[in-house]
């Protein structure tokens, strides 16, 4: 068995002195895996993703990625360039990752920072614009972009680095239906070319269709489940306990229905 | 109090740009040391914040509203050096996008609002906050910091404008730039800022900084060492006293101060005069020998200008070719 791309051992994280972000996380991610991290708001899934992206560092335990233990020091040397080109992070809010004057500049930013040669930068940007279908937005300024367009640009800005690993924080949040479908098809395509995809989400529909594996974080910031999507998603009690779905009762005339609802979950018990 | 283009003579603009250069450089160094790579987004967002609050109308007693500059607010939140840069960035955007303040006068405006204001405000704030005062005294201390800071800024602007008739008038007594002398600019700026803009700034500054202090004190800038370095107090006193010396005309102090000022300002034209001499020496006879009639000398002007510009363009072109980025 080949070396896992991420090896997370007993990782804990705290905000300041009081708030626990993550508690005793143990997991591994293999190359080419498609993983969904499920959890309620505040369960720590964003933090876990940022730790994997080397943007935030654990207080206890260790994380090894691409063969090296991630620390502040390691990520300021030569390894930084290599790591950044291999691991891409797509933030939840597009505004913070669109900071260049035009869409073209934004998509070119990553490759330029990594010292890629001018002609190749131009090639990559053109190809990325093509792939995402946003060639028309090339010279657009960020304040002239719609929400969906911003998401596409944000993803493009990460893809132009050609990362092997794609970390996505709540990718479908706030997206209109058409853009959601577009995103799903893009991720499916990337999965087919063996990119490692790790999503933090509470969108159960995208989990079902894309993920090979699901990790569930509880509101106590620990992993409570790690398995196949069809198994995990069928465990209603677990999902209720960790506050990913809720249950309610309503009436159709004389018939009373009790069923579960999660964001985007399907009514499957009528 | 953004000074528009054309109000200040090129000499004044140049001197103030030259004065700001080391301040900007020093600010960049200090901020780089304190923030490292985080400096770019923090300074940019600080500047964006500054720009936005400059747009706000603040209600004042009497029913009307006014704007504040916010230099003291930014200094209390980001610290004085980062404030220098954030304020300079905000002023640049204002000048470019709205013509609020000129581009040639950007050096002067930055000197007033992005250097004098944050530093004066910051240090008076810390003087006032010494001894951990209660909420009321705190409000007064912050308001005072904002009030004094903006009045110092206004004084600086008044001096810059007021010396224009002295240093740049045509031989027949006609002012070439801002036409009012110090005896007009200083009282006018002083009265308007002491009585109107000052209180607005004081209220606005106290309002914001008090609120931040109450809600989340950690948001305010924490100085690494004792901020009241005697060195800075001495410098502040010097800055304040020199122009006041100008007002004390006739006294020994007044004489010294005006002489100093005139010699500083006179340096630039001295330099220009030497440059002109150099130019005349390069051109064999500025007016070519034999070309004495007015028409012919006009031609001489045109030809030397054409020659000069061609040489400079050639230098630019070659420089571009040699130094390809």
């Amino acid at each position: 068995m080949t070396e896992p791309i991420f090896n997370i051992e007993r990782v804990s994280y705290r905000y300041g002195d009081k708030h626990i972000g993550l508690k005793d996380i143990n997991m591994q991610v293999q190359n080419g895996e498609s993983l969904a991290i499920l959890g309620a708001n505040g369960s720590g899934k964003s933090t876990l993703l940022k730790i994997m992206a080397g943007l935030v560092f654990p207080e206890d335990g260790s994380i090894t990625a691409l063969g090296k233990t991630l620390t502040q020091d390691i990520l300021t040397g030569d390894f930084a360039g290599f790591f950044r080109s291999k691991v891409g992070f797509v933030f939840q809010e597009p505004e913070v990752q669109i900071f260049c004057p035009t869409v073209w500049d934004e998509i070119a930013f990553g490759p330029l920072q990594l010292g890629i040669e001018r002609s190749e930068v131009i090639q990559r940007v053109d190809d990325t614009l093509d792939m995402l279908g946003i060639k028309a937005l090339r010279d657009r300024q960020p304040h002239h972009l719609s929400g969906g367009e911003k998401k596409k640009v944000a993803i493009g800005a990460v893809l132009s680095l050609n990362p092997d690993v794609l970390l996505l924080d709540e990718p479908t949040n706030g997206l209109d239906p058409r853009t959601q479908v577009w995103l799903f098809e893009l991720l499916a395509g990337l999965k087919m070319v063996k990119k490692t995809i790790i999503m933090a989400t509470h969108d159960l529909s995208i989990v079902e269709d894309l993920a090979d594996r699901v990790v569930v974080l509880s509101e106590e910031h620990t992993i409570v489940e790690d398995g196949r999507p069809d198994e995990v998603l069928r465990d209603k009690d677990l999902l209720l306990k960790v506050n990913i779905i809720h249950e309610h009762t309503h009436r159709h005339g004389d018939i009373v229905h009790i069923h579960s609802h999660g964001p985007f979950a399907r009514h499957d018990e009528h | 109090m953004h000074i528009p283009d054309g109000y200040l003579s090129p000499k004044t603009c140049g001197v103030l740009y030259v004065a700001m250069a080391p301040i900007w450089y020093l600010a960049a160094r200090k901020v780089q040391k304190a923030l490292h790579a985080k400096q770019i987004p923090l300074l940019a967002l600080g500047a964006a914040f500054t720009f936005v609050i400059m747009m706000f109308n603040i209600p004042i007693p009497g029913g009307s509203t006014g704007h504040m500059v916010g230099g003291t607010v930014v200094a209390c939140v980001l610290g004085p050096w980062a404030a220098v840069i954030s304020l300079s960035l905000a002023l640049t955007i204002q000048a470019l996008l709205f013509g609020d303040g000129g581009i040639t006068t950007l050096g002067a405006n930055c000197f007033n609002m992005a250097f004098i204001m944050p530093f004066v405000g910051y240090y008076i704030y810390h003087v006032g906050m010494a001894g951990s005062p209660g909420q009321k005294r705190r409000w007064v201390a912050i308001a005072l910091a904002g009030y004094i800071a903006i009045n110092m800024t206004a004084l600086a602007a008044a001096i810059e404008l007021g010396i224009q008739p002295i240093i740049a008038s045509s031989p027949d007594g006609r002012p070439l730039y801002a036409p009012y002398p110090l005896s007009v600019t200083i009282p006018v700026m002083a009265v308007s800022h002491l009585l109107f803009f000052g209180p607005i700034e004081a209220i606005g500054t106290a309002m914001v900084v008090s609120y931040v202090f109450k809600t989340n004190e950690a948001m305010l800038y924490k100085p690494a060492a004792n901020p009241l370095k005697p060195l800075w107090i001495g410098l502040a006193i010097l800055i304040i006293l020199t122009p006041l010396g100008l007002l004390a005309q006739g006294t020994a102090w007044g004489e010294w101060a005006s002489e100093e000022l005139k010699s500083i300002l006179g340096y630039a034209p001295e330099g220009l005069r030497r440059l002109e001499g150099l130019w005349a020496n390069m051109m064999p006879g500025y007016n070519f020998p034999g070309w004495d009639s007015p028409v012919k000398s006009a031609f001489g002007y045109v030809i030397s200008a054409a020659l000069g510009s061609s040489i400079i363009v050639l230098i630019i072109y070659l420089a571009g070719k040699i130094w390809k980025r």
Binding site: L112 | D5, A44, F56, Y301, G308
Partner: protein, 297 residues
């Protein structure tokens, strides 16, 4: 189903109209801010579109364009006489026309500063500010002599023309150059990279923060039944400014992470986009030529 207990007062629906509502109260600061924000957004978000036209200035490399305009501004600053400045101003208007910029738009941009300047310098035409040769005597009675001096008139004429010319030049540049090109052009000037990168980012995030400001004000307006007292106004405005500050600091931290995640390590690397052509050198040469003419006057 969980029962939601709706209180009695919320169950009441009225269909009466406002019996005593005054129409057209004075504008409070909330309303003024909303208007200020709206006009800002309009001005920035819907540019005049001159940057896309195929005029004289638009065809020149933005860096050369900026350099030339700056040199013309220095020229305007150096000129001393009324006639030379008028000549330069005519040249500027010609440039505007050649660049397909509506002269009216240029005037509209210059007007605020010009009007302000006009009223500001009016007293300087009189002898108590600018003494000299009397042109128009207002009154003369013993020692009290009030007149408009030649020096005063010429002084304010030159001043107004100069300010007008310089403002027009800068406006011409901003109208014919898109914001991204403005920032790209600045990169080639001897300004530290830190400042130029931060400058374009400042502009970018002004747009984001202004939205926060707008939403705050609109939300407050929607809840305003009667005008706020001064204390209430201050309290509310302080809390909103605090909110914008908080968002600024949060965003700064996140933007830093986003930049780092894409390889940024303190030094922004950019790419040269523009190439100088013959006509750019001609343009710069021309502006230097005019400047050198002016210097010699």
């Amino acid at each position: 189903m969980e029962k939601v207990n709706i209180p009695e007062w919320l169950k009441k629906t009225g269909d009466d109209f406002c019996p005593s509502c005054a129409v057209g109260r004075g504008k409070g600061f909330v309303e003024k801010n909303i208007e200020a924000i709206a006009s800002f957004i309009k001005e920035v978000l819907e540019p005049e579109g001159f940057a896309n036209k195929n005029g004289l200035l638009q065809q020149i490399d933005p860096r050369a364009r900026l350099l030339g305009i700056l040199l013309f501004m220095v020229t305007a600053a150096l000129l001393k006489g009324v006639v030379p400045i008028i000549v330069l101003l005519s040249l500027v208007i010609l440039m505007a026309v050649a660049s397909r910029v509506n002269a009216m738009i240029l005037l509209k941009r210059a007007l605020p500063v010009l009007i302000f300047t006009f009223f500001l310098v009016l007293p300087a035409a009189f002898n108590f500010i600018t003494p000299g040769a009397a042109v128009v005597t207002i009154f003369k009675w013993d020692a009290f002599y009030l007149y408009i001096s030649k020096q005063g008139l010429e002084g304010i004429a030159v001043f107004l023309l100069r300010v007008g010319t310089m403002v027009s030049l800068l406006s011409l540049f901003m109208l014919t150059t898109s914001y991204p090109d403005v920032f790209r052009a600045l990169q080639s000037f001897p300004i530290p990279k830190l400042f130029v990168t931060a400058l374009s980012m400042t502009f970018r995030y002004i747009m984001v923060l202004i939205k926060v400001a707008e939403d705050s004000h609109l939300a407050r307006k929607a809840r305003t039944i009667k005008p706020l007292t001064l204390k209430q106004g201050h309290g509310w405005l302080a809390s909103r400014i605090w909110l914008i500050l908080e968002r600024s600091l949060e965003m700064a931290a996140d933007v830093y992470l986003a930049m780092t995640a894409r390889g940024f390590n303190g030094d922004v690397k950019t790419m040269r986009v523009f190439e100088m052509k013959g006509r750019d050198y001609v343009w710069v040469g021309f502006s230097i030529f005019i400047l050198l003419l002016a210097v010699q006057m």
